[in-house]
């Protein structure tokens, strides 16, 4: 059942894409900054996924869970630090000025990674507990794929609950919708921005750790990942998390099946989809409509 495998593959892609895009969307929707460096955080996470197991002394069954727990948290802490020292200074600035630190971060992270881990990319072992294959509805696929899809779904639900069912979620939605209003309501935006940024980077961190066994740890991932996130967000609508989910599923599937048709250039289908959306619904499938 080749189609079945492609569906699973598409879902795996979708999971990762969603995690990336949701974070990007959050930062843009709330902090109003386009974080081009988002892919660089993702890339860092893949290297953390490579390195952390050594700190935990090799491959016990626990290692993977520890990496999955700690890796994104470490990254989130880094993200918070970056937000406080850097991004805080550029909120509200000219969009050109806002772009610069994000570009700078990409360069800096790239060379820091190179300094620590060298030029060649690294392979990351699949987690012990997921090395086999499982079978569902007559389709056989690596169990790790199943885990990624489940993890993605769980986080999507958790994120939805956070944004739509908690007080904090109401606050960030208020800020995203109407900046002046929330300022006049006395909401402590500074702390919230840091929180949002940290969560967004955490999401990128999870994406990175989950991807690492599949993609390895490589410096080129920074640009690839952020472009993936861009495409999802353009199709789904910037600032819309449901949009990111819908678009991630769509693109994951298109990419997966595209590989069946033109293995060399599945990207063409994704861009075709994006072009279509741009013509029919420029602000994205679920984006906020202008006019």
């Amino acid at each position: 059942m080749l189609i079945g495998l492609q569906v699973v593959s598409g879902l795996v892609s979708a999971s990762i894409l969603f995690l990336l895009a949701a974070g990007l969307s959050l930062i843009f929707g709330v902090c109003r900054v386009l974080n081009i460096a988002h892919g660089a955080f993702f890339m860092l996470a893949t290297y953390l996924a490579y390195q952390l197991p050594f700190l935990f002394g090799g491959d016990s069954a626990l290692t993977f869970w520890l990496v999955l727990l700690l890796g994104p948290l470490v990254l989130a802490a880094l993200g918070a630090m970056v937000e406080v020292t850097l991004f805080r200074r550029i909120y509200g600035a000219d969009i050109l000025v806002q772009l610069l630190p994000t570009i700078a971060l990409i360069f800096i992270f790239g060379d820091v990674v190179r300094f620590i881990w060298g030029l060649p990319s690294k392979t990351v072992a699949s987690p012990e507990q997921f090395t086999g294959a499982i079978s569902l509805m007559g389709v056989a696929f690596p169990s790790y794929y199943g885990f990624i899809v489940v993890a993605g779904a769980v986080i999507a639900i958790g994120l939805w609950a956070l944004v739509y069912r908690t007080r904090w979620g109401i606050l960030i939605r208020a800020i995203a919708q109407d900046r002046e209003m929330s300022a006049s309501l006395g909401i402590n935006e500074t702390a919230i921005y840091t929180g949002v940024f940290a969560i967004a980077v955490w999401l990128a961190g999870v994406a990175g750790v989950l991807s690492a066994p599949i993609t390895g740890a490589a410096r080129e991932l920074d640009v690839e990942a952020v472009i993936d996130a861009f495409v999802v967000v353009v199709v789904g609508g910037l600032g819309s998390i449901p949009g990111s989910l819908l678009a991630a599923l769509l693109i994951g599937m298109v990419r997966s099946f595209g590989i069946l048709v033109i293995p060399q250039f599945a990207m063409a289908f994704v861009f075709g989809l994006m072009a279509l959306v741009l013509i029919l619904r420029p602000t994205g499938l679920l984006g906020r409509k202008e006019r």
Binding site: F28, L34, I36, L86, R89, I90, A93, D94, I95, L96, V97, L99, L100, P101, I103, A104, L105, I106, F107, I108, G110, D111, V112, R114, F115, V223, V226, I227, F230, V231, V233, V234, L238, Q264, F265, M267, F271, M274, A275, L278, I279, P282, T283
Partner: protein, 312 residues
């Protein structure tokens, strides 16, 4: 807001000195430096073309290298497969790049700001991937090689003069465009897009026009590059190449016509000097960009006491 007479005379004198220096360069410095200067000139043109978008129209494109590469590859492919003579092949560069810009721009200008930036990056990478994967046509990452300039222009100093001539001509044209009604309209769009709409300017169309014009000039630079390096590789379309030009523009100052010229020269100078000290060029670059962003976002040209005249 005219520059005073005295300052203007100094400005002209400096310009004449600079031109004289450039004209005499091959006699003043070793050949290696002449080759580097050629490289700088091409990069200056590329950066100036980008500033038509950033500085004038306020369109932040991070995928401009796509047009540089399309121009270069178009020129190179004509030479390689059709044996086209150099002048004709060079003309094809901006035409191909302009067409690519028309198609890509059509999609990108439909949206603004963050979306626009994202799309330019995405399309830039699309072009890179197409060039890289289409091995049969472009040679993939083995590159398009063996593209020789016309025999008279093979010597380094001869090619240098050729590039100098083309780039100076392009600078004159770009400067004129900046002063033109079209240039003013672009600046108005950057300043207040809604008001521009309400004095009768079809904003989308003008933005597309700027995109195509900028892409075409990048295509000229690409054509010059392919003969300069005797070939081209996919990395000419890579995001990093776009980021280089973007950095050059910002370093020098997007708000000044000469900004990209200063920025591009400085950038190339650093690109030669820094690797002698450390292999971590990108770290250095990142820190430099941060310093500019946090310290002097208007760029280096803003340090001069309005000697360059008002904003472009």
């Amino acid at each position: 807001m005219e520059v005073t007479g005295g300052r203007r005379r100094i400005g002209y004198a400096a310009l004449i000195l600079l031109l004289a220096f450039l004209a005499l360069l091959p006699r003043l410095v070793p050949l290696v430096v002449v080759v580097q200067a050629t490289d700088v000139l091409i990069f200056v043109l590329f950066s100036l073309s980008l500033n038509l978008l950033i500085g004038y129209a306020g369109m932040l494109s991070l995928g401009h290298a796509a047009f540089f590469a399309v121009g270069g590859y178009a020129t190179g492919l004509l030479v390689k497969y059709l044996g086209t003579a150099m002048p004709l092949a060079l003309v094809a560069g901006p035409i191909a790049a302009g067409l690519a810009a028309l198609v890509i721009g059509f999609f990108c200008v439909r949206l603004s700001h963050a979306y626009f930036i994202m799309l330019t990056v995405a399309f830039g990478q699309l072009i890179y991937t197409v060039i890289w994967k289409w091995r049969e046509l472009t040679g993939g990452d083995d590159g398009l090689i063996g593209i020789m300039p016309a025999p008279a222009l093979v010597p380094s100093s001869a090619y240098y003069y050729f590039v100098l001539g083309v780039v100076l001509a392009a600078i004159v044209v770009l400067h004129r465009v900046g002063q033109s009604p079209f240039g003013r309209a672009l600046r108005a769009i950057k300043d207040h897009p809604r008001r521009a709409e309400f004095i009768g300017i079809h904003v989308r169309r003008y933005q597309l026009g700027a995109f195509v014009l900028a892409g075409s000039f990048a295509g000229i630079a690409g054509g010059l590059q392919v003969f300069f390096h005797r070939g081209m590789f996919p990395n000419a379309a890579h995001w990093l190449t776009s980021a280089d030009a973007f950095t050059a523009v910002v370093l020098g100052g997007a708000g000044y016509f000469a900004g990209p010229i200063v920025g591009a020269t400085l950038f190339k100078g650093l690109a030669i000097a820094v690797p002698r000290v450390t292999e971590y060029w990108f770290f250095f670059l990142g820190v430099a960009i941060l310093l500019v962003a946090l310290g002097r976002p208007q760029g280096l040209m803003s340090l001069l006491p309005r000697a360059g005249g008002r904003k472009p």
